[in-house]
């Protein structure tokens, strides 16, 4: 692989653009296929068409083309996790989520919590959750978790999350807290169906107690939700 090819793949990833690296198995000839352009020598029409299909599906595969056997390596932007509340549980959840491959963004307007030293190597936004969420625009590959317990901070974030395409919305709090939250959000115009999207109490029930255990239960629930959507067939086979 040419060094400039490697750097172009990294640049695409850093700017959250999907890209396919087409590579001829026989000699390593390559092309980078973007949504709107192709760079490189391996630019036969059928190779580019197959690469565009891989770009859409996000699946890497080896295909037979007029140029011979070509490996299409799809690099799609990683999923995102927006964590509202830079609290103790977040300090456990954030590094685990990053290790799992999520781009993690922590949001908390409180300076003492949203200190960079508490969250090395991830984006920490010291902002009001509704403003940050409006700008971040949760999409179908974004998970949102609220952890503050404070309605002033959690509720505005949930209002944006529940009207977005976020694949997972979770909110920390007991059953009673969750009932009160429901009353407030329905008053604010959230529908029953929208509220029903919230995973609350948050996380898989594994009897988690410590911040790290709760973080594991939340991350496990997020992983389960995502694989059920992205790999429904495989998951069904495994469940059977």
């Amino acid at each position: 692989m040419k060094l400039e090819t490697l750097k172009a793949v990294q640049a695409a990833r850093d700017s959250r653009r999907a890209i396919v690296l087409a590579k001829r198995i026989a000699d390593g000839a390559e092309a980078l296929v973007y949504a709107d352009r192709v760079d490189g020598e391996l630019a036969q029409a059928d190779v580019v068409a197959a690469a565009r299909a891989a770009l859409a599906s996000g699946r890497s595969e080896t295909v037979d083309t007029s140029a011979g056997k070509v490996f299409l390596h799809a690099f799609v932007p990683p999923p995102r996790m927006i964590v509202v509340g830079a609290v103790h549980i977040a300090q456990a959840l954030v590094p685990m989520a990053a290790m799992t491959g999520y781009d993690v963004i922590v949001v908390d307007p409180r300076r003492a919590f949203a200190a960079d030293y508490r969250f090395p190597n991830v984006t920490v936004l010291q902002e009001w959750p509704d403003e940050a969420m409006e700008r971040l625009k949760p999409d179908a590959s974004t998970a949102v978790v609220t952890l503050t317990h404070d309605p002033k901070l959690d509720d505005p974030a949930l209002q944006v999350a529940l009207t977005s395409d976020a694949f997972y919305v979770g909110s920390l709090g007991s059953r009673r807290t969750h009932e009160k939250r429901k009353a407030r959000l329905l008053d604010a115009g959230i529908t029953e169906a929208q509220f029903g999207r919230i995973h609350g109490p948050v996380g898989l029930d594994i009897g988690a107690r410590s911040p790290a255990e709760i973080a594991i239960s939340i991350l496990a629930e997020i992983i389960r939700t995502r694989t059920a959507q992205t790999e429904p067939a495989e998951r069904k086979v495994k469940a059977a």
């Binding site: 692989m1 040419k2 060094l3 490697l6 750097k7 793949v9 990294q10 990833r13 850093d14 590579k23 198995i25 000699d27 390593g28 699946r59 890497s60 595969e61 080896t62 490996f71 390596h73 799809a74 990683p78 590094p95 990053a98 290790m99 799992t100 491959g101 999520y102 781009d103 993690v104 090395p120 190597n121 991830v122």
Partner: protein, 107 residues
């Protein structure tokens, strides 16, 4: 991108910048139960240091050996591992799956 996530291409670029010889191994095909999906990568330097994986640890040894040779001669290689394969049996692909790995020098 966070530094905590395993960044194989970032490691390849960093090793290259240090002046090391570097190769990338990529899973290009799988059959049956294989532990790592198509697209999984392993980065190797000329001394056999490695990051990432192309299996559950079953074939990395053999892949590293080929990668070090690819760093030396610059030729890409396509490696097949599977239970029907004498060599794979030796390196112990115990999952019963088959996997094809493309190895090439970086730069």
């Amino acid at each position: 991108m966070t530094a905590a996530a395993e960044d194989i291409l970032g490691t390849a670029a960093a090793w290259k910048a240090e002046g090391r010889g570097v190769a990338l191994a990529t899973v290009t095909l799988t059959w049956g139960s294989s532990p790592r999906p198509v697209g999984s990568q392993l980065v190797v330097d000329q001394d056999g240091n490695m990051m990432g994986s192309v299996s559950g640890g079953c074939i990395e040894g053999a892949v590293v050996k080929e990668a070090v040779e690819a760093i030396g001669d610059g030729k890409p290689r396509l490696l097949d591992f599977g239970v029907t394969d004498e060599q794979a049996w030796d390196v112990g692909l115990a999952c019963g799956g088959k996997v094809q790995v493309f190895v090439e020098r970086v730069g």
